[in-house]
Amino acid sequence: MSTTPQDTLHSDKDTESLLGATVRLAGDSGDGMQLVGSQLTNASALAGNDVATFPDFPAEIRAPRGTRAGVSGFQLQFSSEDIFTPGDELDALVVMNPAALVTNIGDLRDRGVLIANEDSFAGKDLKLANLDQNPLESDDLKKYNLIKVPITSLTRTAVSEVKNADGNTLGTKEADRCKNFFALGIICWLYGRNLEPTIRFLNDKFGKKRPDVAEANTLALKAGWNYGETAELFERNYQVQPAHLTPGTYTNVMGNQALAWGLVTAANLSNKELFYGSYPITPASPVLEELSNFKNYGVKTFQAEDEIAAICSAIGAAFGGSMALTGSSGPGIALKGEAMGLAMILELPMLILNVQRGGPSTGLPTKTEQSDLLQVMFGRNGESPLPVIAARSPSDCFDVAQEAWRISSRFMIPVIILSDGYIANGAEPWKIPDVAELEKISISHPGPIEEGETFLPYSRNEDLARPWALPGTETLMHRLGGLEKEDLTGNVSYDPDNHQYMTNIRQEKVDRIAHVVDPVEVSGPASGDLLVLSWGGTYGACITACRRAREDGMSVAHAHLRWLAPFPANLEEVLKQYKKVLIPELNMGQLSLLIRAKFLIDVAQLNKVKGKPFKVSEILKRIRDEIELLK
């Protein structure tokens, strides 16, 4: 009997209702874990849950098969409540091989569901994972709800009837490529996820070119679902109710995608062509790839010969009047330093994006870290202050892109946007805005002057912004350059007082931004024992930990910095309302250093550089310790 997606959805087993769950799919980097992870995310979001994801993959495209180095994982939390992180402990873990088991089992909670592909635990697989004994037979796994499933052989059976265009059945290799969808099918059954969006995805992706591939994966997916339903391994499955999100139309966005969309939107709102000069680098490349699709939106992308050329081309485009942008990650930003200084002294508007990754040097390209804060603050020669804004979550990237351009074009100053690998590759639901209702970004360029008048390219308005005069405009011919400018005329000047004055003005421009951006908001008590201060991608873990601390009766507030330079105008006042300030950061204390230096207050640091985001529990534990110390 054949089954349709609809009738597979009604399980006859007991269904238990859950608030939410955290699931991780782990396998070899060639096993397609990221693909099924994103499908599970989509299905969960379409079920109305709030979702947050954490893809974690090796830097090598194909690390040696079956080894610990090659393990790729995708973690997802879905919930009927508002959530901000991809979860701490796992409620369910799927492992496709022994290497995935040993590298991930530490995160599974006691009595959590462990689904293992027992077909790939033979001697050869164990050897590749550096194991002497089969871990599935170890007593260590007794505290988990271990479910051994012969995923490989069941998948082969499920797809055995599929014929390709030549009328042949699929080879073993091709059949085995479907086993990730079998695993997804089991998880979909376990958490009551609809198969339909995934089947639609398979048909869209493969239906035309390789209908056999679409059919085989669909059969594997359904077979996985049916296996959950019929095998006497699971006592029950679970249901997670929709979350209470603000009414509206939602879609799932990943950070880099939301950023690209936000940039195109900002260009649209300001009536500008977007110019993106970039050089491929993990984890920023998806921004270049995404933007290169948007040729019919007036977006010009330029894949430059190197990082330096990328930013220089953007400065050239900014001079020409485009909304110009360059993007990279830490190593590339290091190369751009000299040109960032030039952009600053030219006082041209542009955006510089840093999707941070683990450093130093090449570091951990595919892992997340927040360790470029001091680099973007100070990594240039001379006195060269620039504004810095940081996104806090995937969907926030959309808003940050617009805010950065609003400030950059208003103050005629390059603005640095910080994101990170965790935000860039993570996904969450995003309420789609109506573009017509977004605030326009107004930009003006001076027109020709009358005879007898003099054009002053370094004259300033009330925001200290100089005029953005575009080449092609009659009578406004002027020369920009990296030598110190004379006030008003912009001519080269070595005058000592002028250099002091211009240096002061450039700092003052950054400082004044503090008065036009939102003050820092505090969630929790307006004064009390402890303030947790965060920035960037640690937002979710910090706000969640603070909420839990308050539920446990602790006097803990949370403040999150969107602008790192300048600090919001009210920050000092806020910091002084608490007995202690705790700053959790995925670096060795960079914001802590800045806060101490600027406000002369001590702060407690919570630092981690393991290439992974904070767990809520890590922050909560430290909050408890700090509260304890205050008693």
Partner: protein, 343 residues
Amino acid sequence: MSTDLPVLTAADFGSDQDIRWCPGCGDYSILAQMKKMLPNLGVPREKIVFISGIGCSSRFPYYMNTYGMHSIHGRAPAFATGLKLARPDLQVWVITGDGDALSIGGNHLMHVIRRNVNLNIVLFNNRIYGLTKGQYSPTSPPGKRTKSTPYGSIDNPLNPLSLAVGCEATFVARSIDTYIKHLGATLERAAEHQGTSFVEVYQNCNVFNDGAWSYATDRNIKADHLLELEHGKPMIFGKNRDKGIRLNGMEPEVVELGKGVQEDDLLFHDEKATEPTLAYLLSRMRVDDGFPEPIGVLRSVEHPTYDGGVVAQMDEVTAQKGKGDLNALFRMGDTWEVEAETT
């Protein structure tokens, strides 16, 4: 109503800034010829942009009454590329030197040329670092004693024209600071070319490397050391125009006319040759190897420009897909509705 453009003169192209090159510098002449030539093009001043890197030559934009940018060392081609992509309507010039273009900026020079961005590059080659007061450059000859090579340079120099031809430049030319008419005409041809125009100018640094090009500028000997190229003409040179270049197999050789050698036996210049072989062969001819050094246009061929391609592709995609609609873009993936909750 008259739509005639105002007639501009060389003076109209000069800015109000004091020129700070050393007295006697070859840069003055290049600046003068540029100002003199530009009115011939009929392009309004506000449509012209000069972009430079760092070095003596790179002060050039400050002295022109056009738009300009004095950027960072070696990167002028990248700024110019971005500007040209953003604003294809502008005429963009890159002013650079041997250190700026060939040393720190070698990468950008290579890529702007192979992309064939529609802009003009003028390389002031004085075979020395002048602004930093006299270190050897990538075009300094072997054995050159400078402040940083007190025992003589052991560095193998780079040949700018060979590099340009190797990157398949669509326009390659050479001139000399003191050959003012030739220089003006060469710059004009560079401006008219669609695609990257690369012009090397032998420029004398009278303070740190005086006489580096004297073999090509000294009245008494220059005729024997220079080969003035003319499209479709045989390659003849010499004070008495009695010497020529003949091809012997794959190699050029200097021959004397008359002694059994006719003009028809000589190599004829073809700047429009599709393959860059002839241009490369010419670029390799050096006085040190017993050849005259060619000046004029080595190569001028038509090839699609990068900036033109960018615009064409945008138009093509827009014609296919229609103008982008953000509201549709945001809804291209799966979407779902969250209804207002009724309590």
